[in-house]
Symmetry: C2
Amino acid sequence: MNAQHPSIAIVGAGAVGGYYGARLAQHGHDVHFLLRGDYDAVRRNGLVVESCDGDFRLPAETVRVYDDVSRMPKADLVVVTLKSTSNDQLEPLVGPLLKDESAVLTLQNGLGNEDRLAELFGARRVLGGMAFVCINRVAPGVIRHTDHGIIRLGEFAVRERTERARRVAGLFNASRVKCEVLDDLRFGRWQKLVWNVPFNGLGATLDLTTDRLVNTAEGLALVRQLMEEVRAAARADGVDLPADLVDANINNTLSMGPYKSSMQVDRQQGRAMEVEAILGEPLRRARAGGAQTPVLEALCRAARVVDAGIRIRGGAELAPA
Amino acid sequence: MNAQHPSIAIVGAGAVGGYYGARLAQHGHDVHFLLRGDYDAVRRNGLVVESCDGDFRLPAETVRVYDDVSRMPKADLVVVTLKSTSNDQLEPLVGPLLKDESAVLTLQNGLGNEDRLAELFGARRVLGGMAFVCINRVAPGVIRHTDHGIIRLGEFAVRERTERARRVAGLFNASRVKCEVLDDLRFGRWQKLVWNVPFNGLGATLDLTTDRLVNTAEGLALVRQLMEEVRAAARADGVDLPADLVDANINNTLSMGPYKSSMQVDRQQGRAMEVEAILGEPLRRARAGGAQTPVLEALCRAARVVDAGIRIRGGAELAPA
């Protein structure tokens, strides 16, 4: 990614991809969006962002949207915001966009996304990032951004803050998106799972909002058990998460009020749940490293059964848009 | 219970109590029903049973129904069919019905009901039974019986088939209800939990019918784990359940098609779930006996959180009617 004015492709322009891509385009970058479901709406009306930091619109005349990757130009930076349940489409959707020096940044949830991109396209290309943002697609081509927005990103292949990672972060920071560079992406991924495993995983599987899990004694006991098992799984994967992360995450969640995680929303709307990225891959690493995680295992199984039922009832996969 | 023509009180005449009580009354026994919600309907229209073994009705003029235990005569046999979530009402509802020699038979679900009655009224009075029956209350005072009906009962205080247990079974057998006497009630209770813990407990907690649990690889793995943990808990409680019970229960359930357990129905209708009798008490016995049951523990916690949510949403306790 050496270009002065890099071209940027957003693969899977749902809420997260649409928002961050729109911020980059709003600030003069050369952004190309790959959409599916919302293509016609954006073609017609442009991309609308209702944001707590100020509304804006990318007009239909200037926004560069595609529904076919073969018509897109190659990009210096490919930002992957597909739902992880569509990772079987990474090869056909990302491959055609790559030049020799292109970088790929995944902003997807959970574990294993960087590994998959590295297998397909080479580890040296890959960066990963976590988006801490409250965002919804409220209508075709309309994204509502209600809170936060920071991205924390880092290199996949090396544990250091490279010049490349700084340049990617610079693109966001110059576009009204706060972005920090991590020296250890794996630590960041596991750290986020301390929250995601109980509140996305258990919350979606039981169909309960966060407050119901932390405001009952038994719910809190389960949440603590799962958080400790995530720490054990992380240790088995070579990452040492501090013990006080558990209380910090619980206290933070207690102050949030009733909150519906993305996975619970997926369940309620009949869409595939990100079970493998958030539960399955952490469990596989726990097993591979010999950690005992019985509650995580039971939760992962239960989540897979619930998710299979959602598909039986005819939920549609929403990918890449 | 020495009388030639014993008087029988049915405490908590919901579907189970209404059905079995009606069978006894239909065959000439002196049966007195304590109801709550359906009292007015039965007072007015009698008690209607739509049964796969032949419909019948106890006419309003002859059926003996009460909404106040203080107006009931004492009974030789008190049959308790309250939902176990109303066990805090056992003392005021059963106590006034007892004579020196009265027997108390609980047909409630799960573990701990006999123990509670024994604490309150003396162990020598207590019998327990399991009703294997498909039954629903379809309208006030109208019970639909669709399949099965056998009762298996035994003494609580001694492990033998007493003359008293035979006499109680005889009342049912003479009233078109097949009834067997067990020489070990505790074995029977634990045996039934091998099915109830996964299919009532897990099915209600995840809101899944039985077929969804046994027709997915991950569901079946969870079901097996829970059944093995029930065996471990039973062992810790002094009951040795044979290993082949696991496969027998799974194969039986595979042949049943989609089936909604009573606990799942309770969840869906916003009524209290029988968490303590079916999950909590087995877990307490596992812990007391030093058994390792991590999945049962997690399930019990999750079920309590789900149940608490049902109560928050305003589900009403249906007791005793």
